[in-house]
Symmetry: C2
């Protein structure tokens, strides 16, 4: 159906190979010929067939992006569009296409990735999550297929390229912020402990506590999937303690929003009754009531760096595994305040 290289060749009075070299801007072709061929291409409306090219080069110009299970509400976290934006921008610059892969179950996701990899559909893969004992990661690793993780691999950390924040330090600093405001009873609410990001943030949180000589209480730590009911229950328990926390480190802005609402149900207000800080600086964080003090992890850069790193790996098989740390920045807004033992302003 489309115009082929042969037709262009005929029209320009050259051999197909010459046309091919013109496309590649090969210096062995004289400027005059190039001009002539380019003209013919334009006139005929020629566009190279990527499949043919992929076949002989055995490289598509595409990279696969693997999202977590689409059944997971987490997918609706603005984190994903934002990281995708980062990936997409550099992919576009480097003339790579993006193949998306999701599935309802882990099995489906694996299938999708295998189709991508075995079918030669992509040259490399970006993993947008990192779970403990993840089949997809194992598959990619043992196939020795180029891939990079956004986040932190739970194993083989030195041989798997990944781009991440220094979550330990970020968590430590944001916790210290709370401590600096006079809070002594600080809780932590986070997602699944299977996620590397969760454990790092716990680590930082505990480091800050320890360093300030504050006790690390197990009952101050809550892991919830942020399913509505589960979250409510957890928050309820937390604030039914004899000495409930006055500050909360929360692993995700969206969770914060949920927590704020639950607290309000219990008659507790942010920041008057409890100060909260969280992570990601999702765009909503600025718009909530109150606006959230949160650590901006530079989601866009996470994506951009991952893509750049992957392409380097693709183009040079010997590129060593890298660990790229993108800087974070604490955004101070209205969800925290100095701790003074007094009753709620609104209550």
């Amino acid at each position: 159906m489309g115009v082929t290289i042969k037709e262009v060749a005929k029209a320009a009075g050259v051999a197909p190979s010459t046309v091919s070299r013109v496309i590649a801007d090969n210096p062995r072709i004289s400027p005059a010929t190039k001009k002539r061929v380019r003209k013919a291409m334009k006139e005929l409306g020629y566009h190279p067939n990527v499949n043919a090219r992929s076949l002989v080069r055995s490289s598509t110009q595409a990279i696969g992006v693997v999202m977590p299970s689409s059944a997971d509400k987490a997918l609706q976290n603005p984190f994903f569009p934002e990281v995708l934006r980062g990936i997409s921008t550099v992919a576009h610059d480097l003339e790579y296409s993006l193949l998306l892969s999701t599935g309802e179950t882990e099995e489906e996701i694996l299938e999708g990735v295998q189709r991508m990899v075995h079918g030669n559909r992509v040259d490399g893969v970006i993993l947008l999550y990192s779970r403990l004992k993840d089949k997809v990661m194992e598959f990619l690793h043992e196939q020795n297929f180029p891939f990079v993780i956004v986040g932190k691999p739970n194993e083989n950390i030195d041989t798997i390229s990944h781009v991440d924040n220094d979550n330990i330090r970020a968590s430590k600093e944001i916790t210290e912020h709370l401590i600096g405001l006079g809070h002594h009873r600080i809780g932590f609410i986070g997602g699944s402990k299977d996620l590397a990001v969760t454990v790092d943030r716990i680590t930082g949180y505990e480091q800050a506590l320890n360093q300030a000589g504050l006790p690390v209480k197990k009952e101050y730590r809550v892991h919830t999937e942020f399913l509505k009911s589960g979250g409510r229950k957890a928050v309820h328990e937390l604030f039914s303690l004899e000495e409930p926390p006055t500050g909360l480190v929360i692993s995700d802005d969206l969770m914060s929003i949920g927590v704020i609402n639950m607290l309000e149900e219990f008659g507790l207000y942010v920041p008057e009754d409890v100060s909260i800080v969280s992570f990601n600086n999702v765009y909503m964080a600025e718009v909530t009531r109150p606006p959230l003090t949160t650590v901006d992890i530079n989601i866009y850069d996470l994506g951009a760096q991952a893509c750049k790193c992957l392409v380097e790996k693709i183009q040079n098989k010997n590129e060593p595994a890298k660990r790229i740390i993108v800087p974070f920045e604490i955004k101070h807004r209205m969800s925290t305040q100095q701790w003074k033992r007094e009753t709620s302003k609104r209550a």
Copy 2:
């Protein structure tokens, strides 16, 4: 690098063509041979090369998904992951891959789509937005390339397949809900008038007003991009009117959240002072304070139907253009209440 069909053929003692036919489960091959070939495939770890296949079949098994400009914060609307989930599910079932395309600018997006189409990367395209005079749509249409729009095309409505809600009716019904609660001064807040969805929802809103004999006031209608400052200004103006609205129809749940917060800044509470209803039933709508009364437009189905429809079109070039209307459902929650002329409970 990979195992090829020839190696499998040799191993099974048949011709490559036979292997190919086994893959296609062609009835001309005897069960015995099939078994033998399949065994060889498994043993050698054979996976067909999609590029080679695409080349001869001149059909990839891939569909392109075009998102709106990634610069647009709208991309962070949970609408997109959800519609993607719908698409992805049926794509997976039908063994299609998803090629994603975004860009910062409209120009970039168009480029991406052209690369997809001209390079034979995809068999069809799903457009996740529909803007007036959209270049991408025009391109696809004049190329006569299979595509479907999620939403409603502004032109050529009878020749472009699309899947949409009956937004007029939905908007009418939700407005009637407000009217039924005794509200007489009802405003409308929506996005760009270039979007088909916005004009439909306005239409329904005005129909309800007219039918109830209520005046349609121009100053009750606000179009805002929901950029923080712009939105604030608009809301401020709306409620500085001599007779400010007591009810609001808002075109998107996320906007509602913004509006609620702005109102609160002005000392107005939802639903005590003003009732609001909106659209989409994004998962956050249930978690906000108050939970939103909103029309559930079945985003998942929108995506699923679009994908199904596209594949039908791909597999049968003569398939006529379709218009698929997915049903909506009003979710009654806490953001509205009976209108009684009294002051805010909280104020």
